[in-house]
């Protein structure tokens, strides 16, 4: 008799966990996946591509329905979990149904933050997080409306690009002095701004939105310096928050996210968390790759194998066609790293590598990220790159030919 394993959340982390489990211990668990969105799990990273009209929702489904069925997974999508009873080992759904578990996994992800601004409740104010948001944004854009995107991070840039691509006149407002300030250094951000603007997206930096204007419907936004920008739509893309309330309410330890150890276990036996809702060694990751690494470790744990998650070297990859942006590791070179940079204005290219003791520590790439995975691998493996140093930034082919 299989043990009942319940996963709350039907996103990328959940799908990967099922896949990893199926590889290791097919049949050991009877898996149920509870998902709020009324559709099969999809690749959230590619939502911007759907928004840009480059893909359809159906194209970005992670797995077809029969894939789940073949693995004996009960999909409870379109159903929201209301509460968890740790003593009874029971999850109660909004519908009132109960699902009992032997093991429970939180994969609840995160949500876009809505800034607490006056006017945030107006019609036409939305976020960019899920399939429903995409449907709404596409409608707005199709009417060639003016849209203000608040937030110049990864999400904001992808939203702005997607909206622009499907016809909207987009203004990106960002409170910091450069785009993607947590993932890029100043030259990279400056070049990115140039590239984004060349795609017709107006970009305002050091632009602090203090109010959303309108009366029932959005009419625009007002900035701290008094400037007003007329718009029929506003998209909040200024950060995400882990969905940890359900766990917290059940009495599981949470801080920003659900606190887990190196085997993704919460403070409660048989209860685990992974992905954007989890907080590991103080870090809540907002990216898919750590979630995948966590899924591997958790699957091992649930299969009775020993594996340990020690945190991820994160990398950022902006997926906007024609604008490759990548950053990974300690790209600012804060603690004594040596910096190599290469900039080509005419090609719209900027690369920076941070090296310490003959090892690659961090990388920023704008305009050409073709070597991104190689650099990430070098950062993660801590390989000695001394012999390639003077060709490293020019890519793998030059380095390896030289070594040959």
């Amino acid at each position: 008799m299989s043990e009942p394993l319940v996963i709350i959340g039907n996103g990328m982390a959940a799908a990967r966990l099922v896949e990893e489990l199926a590889k290791r211990a097919l049949g050991r668990y009877a898996i149920a996946v509870i998902g709020e969105e009324p559709r099969l799990a999809y690749n959230r990273v590619l939502l911007s591509s759907v928004l840009a009209g480059e893909s359809e929702m159906a194209d970005i489904e992670l797995k077809p329905a029969d894939w789940w069925r073949d693995r004996g997974v009960t999909l409870l999508y379109g159903r929201k979990a209301r509460s968890v009873d740790l003593a009874e080992k029971r999850v109660t759904l909004e519908s009132g149904e109960s699902v009992f578990y032997s093991k429970l996994v939180f994969a609840t992800g995160s949500r876009a933050l809505r800034l607490p601004l006056p006017g945030a409740e107006l019609r036409g104010v939305c976020v960019f997080r899920d399939g429903a948001d995409v449907d709404m944004l596409k409608r707005m854009a199709a009417q060639r409306e003016r849209i203000v995107v608040i937030g110049g991070g990864l999400l904001g840039l992808e939203a702005a690009y997607g909206l622009g691509k499907c016809g909207a006149k987009v203004t990106l407002v960002h409170v910091a002095d450069r785009l993607m300030e947590r993932q890029l250094d100043a030259p990279a951000a400056a070049l990115l701004k140039q590239l984004i603007e060349s795609k017709g997206i107006e970009t305002l930096l050091e632009a602090n939105t203090i109010r959303i204007l309108g009366d029932g419907d959005v009419r625009g936004v007002e900035l701290a310096d008094g400037r007003r920008i007329a718009a029929e739509g506003v998209v909040f893309a200024a950060g995400i928050a882990p969905n940890s309330e359900l766990a917290r309410d059940a009495g599981i330890e949470t801080q920003r996210g659900i606190v887990v150890d190196d085997q993704m276990t919460t403070n409660i036996d048989d209860v685990f968390a992974l992905g954007e809702c989890a907080q590991h060694r103080g870090v809540c990751y907002g990216l898919v790759e750590p979630a995948y690494e966590q899924a591997r470790v958790l699957a091992a744990r649930l299969s009775g194998e020993g594996d340990v998650y020690e945190g991820s070297v994160v990398s950022t990859n902006l997926k906007v066609s024609g604008v490759s942006v990548f950053s990974a590791g300690d790209f600012l070179g804060r603690d004594g790293g040596e910096t190599i940079s290469w900039r080509d204005q005419g090609l719209g290219l900027y690369k920076k590598l941070v090296i310490e003791s003959g090892r690659l520590r961090g990388a920023v790439l704008v305009g050409d990220a073709s070597a991104a995975l190689w650099y990430l691998e070098l950062i993660r493996s801590r390989a000695d790159i001394s012999q390639w140093r003077d060709a490293l930034i020019f890519g793998r082919a030059l380095c390896e030919r030289k070594a040959a």
Binding site: E338, W342, Q345, D368, D390, L398
Partner: protein
Amino acid sequence: MQRFDPRSAAVATTCPYCGVGCGVLATPDGSGGATIAGDPRHPANFGRLCSKGSALNETLSLEGRLLHPMLRDGAQLRRASWDEALSEVAKGFRRVIDAHGPQAVAFYLSGQLLTEDYYAANKLLKGFIGSPNVDTNSRLCMASTVAGHKRAFGADVVPGCYEDLDLADLIVLVGSNAAWCHPILFQRILRNKQERGAKLVVIDPRRTATAEEADLFLPIAPGGDVALFCGLLVHLVANGAVRDDYVMRHTEGFAQTLAAARAIAPTIAATAAAAGLREVDVAAFFELFAATPKTVTAFSQGVNQSAQGTDKVDAIVHCHLATGRIGEPGAAPFSLTGQPNAMGGREVGGLANQLAAHMGFSEAEVDRVRRFWNAPRIATREGLKAVQMFEAIGRGEIKALWVMGTNPAVSLPQADEARAALSRLDLFVVSDNVLSNDTINAGAHVLLPAQAWGEKSGTVTNSERRISRQRAFLPSPGEAEPDWRIVGEVAARMGFGEAFRFRSAADVFREHAALSAFENDGARSFDIGGLAELSGEAYDALRPTFWPIRAGETKGRERFFAEGSFFTADGKARFVAPERPALKAATSAAFPFRLNTGRIRDQWHTMTRTGKSPRLARHLPSPFVEIHPADAAAAGLVDGGFARVSTRHGECLLAVAVTERQRRGELFAPIHWSDETASLARVGALVAAVTDPHSGQPEAKATPARIDAVSFKSHGFLLSRAALRPPFAELATKVALAHGHGLLFASNAGLELWRDYVAALGDRADAADYFDEARGVYRAARFAEQRVDLCLFVGRQDARAAFDQATALFEKEWLTIEERKALLSGRAADGAEEDGAIVCACFGVGAKAIDKAIANGARSVAEIGARLRAGTNCGSCIPELKRAIAAARACCEE
């Protein structure tokens, strides 16, 4: 009047570089350029050209050309009319003559002048101004041979011809890197070796490219030549190789000379010790020489540029006289001249110790020339030879100087002093075809624009006494004029117009030929009376012709002296006992090395012409000093680093090349760079002005020197469309590029200075840069319309490989994205082959391509040639190809 037809097909002319005198077919392209090919009908080269000759098409641009007369106006030179400039020159000479006498006027001429130019200049100064102070850069090149020939033969006659190199069974090269300096003759020698099995012996302190082809290489100590050939003479006598009949009937002085030789080098062991050689090598050479009647001993600057150069020449000549190996097919002592018309200058008499046309300053000779020229004021005694001439200028005794077509501020020994002397002149005239060189920049008062090669028309004589035509194939640019006409114009303004009524080069040549035949009863070897009546058409059509060619003869003479008949009063050759060999200046603790100087394969003289060719710049792009690895280690020098080379007379900053081809205790530095092309590389400034007592030729190959390591923060290069010279590039060398300018440099500036320098160059829109601050690396590029506009590399490593890559991309009309991305990497773009340093300059084939061909199975020079064409034209890279094959083989065996 120009007789130039732009629609003409190939024009047969003669190469302007070394003394081989190769025939060139130049086909003008109608827009100032021309395609260049060897002339298959010319008997010097039969269609072959060396790397320098093949690249002549890259040297024809008018960039940097002097196109109109200029006069000094304070610190500047301003444009002037011909009339104003010529009057200035004439008045200036007249003023100096009136105040100080004619001896205060001197002309310093060039082995690159045509015979007609030489003749007119010599006639004006010696005949009409009345000063004997005409000397020439041939003094630095051939004077010891002239003196040696005159002493031994009674006349300056080269006894053999090139064909002897084809017919000899043994060829001995002494002090000659013919593989680099006379490549076409060297290819003839190699062909003889391959086809007839001739042996090649090379005697040189350096293991040169020439030495690598030798059957026997004698790495002789500097100054050891006299001892070696004295030892040889002793050995020939001891082994019955002397032709007593020839010695008895045709020579004088044998016994005394043999006695002197025995005192210097009595045995093989003594010879070996005196020459710094192994006994076994000396013995092998002596045996080979003794046993081979058909021997040619060819020699060049290693023999001539010596304070005992005349004795060295005659020590060689003695061995040929003693064995009767002279003037016979395949047997002769043979001087290889370094300049295209050094021989023409000697024929004209454009040297201070000659009057004219192989006549000296005896009363009868002066009288004869005075009558021929109708020149009552003719100079009646010898003038000052080059080194003494510049010393006299320095002392203020010579007040007026006219330099034609040469660059003494670079090429003279103790060149700093020579240059300083120039600034003391009351009148300093330069006729040349460049706007700027070190001599002009030493303070010339008047610049007169001369025609360049391709524009001028006249004759030159090569190393085998063969007179060939240089013909114009390009229109004369700007206001440039032939030198003979400029001289004539000055003469006319000084009141000597009657004697200079030349309407054409042919007019000058006919007069020159007539003088050679004037009252010549056969006592003077140089007689070209047979050419004195040439019509203008016949002169234009003149085929390469040996001299002498006397009146009534239709064919010149190939060889001399097989039957004696020397040009001494008694018709006998002279053996002249040599001085005991010793170098003039001794080394010391302060100056422990011997500095040797010389040419490299792809440059010529001070680079005014070859320096324009991008192809030629790639072989050895910057000035260097070669040193043995053990000496380098002791001095803390590394290959690719830098060194200060200093002597009592000056200093240079040079890149260090560590090589086992160099003997211990000796340095070698090439002569080509000047202040015009490099920051501190005028090697002439290092050379002591000690001279041979007979020839006046300086000892340019044995100056005591020291070498000290110099370090710079960074080295790098700058490639740009307009010439740039960053002030903090302390050590810089200009390198020719196609459509741009290259600068190799070393610098102590920090990267910020370089970054600011590039930033200050203007628009940054299409710019790229690369920084690795921790490694001290900064690279920057500017682009314009997909072409590289500027490229800078600064770093701590030797940037030579990156320079070759970046240059290749810089010279492209447009770059692909991949090429553009590769530019700052200093590596070839993906998929493209990296060339490496150019080895075959004729076809632009690099070392890496050659290594690859070898790796892919090419096992011989012929196979490399079949794949890459490398080595199939001039062949001067063949030693390097062989070295690459040998290196690959050694590598495989390890």
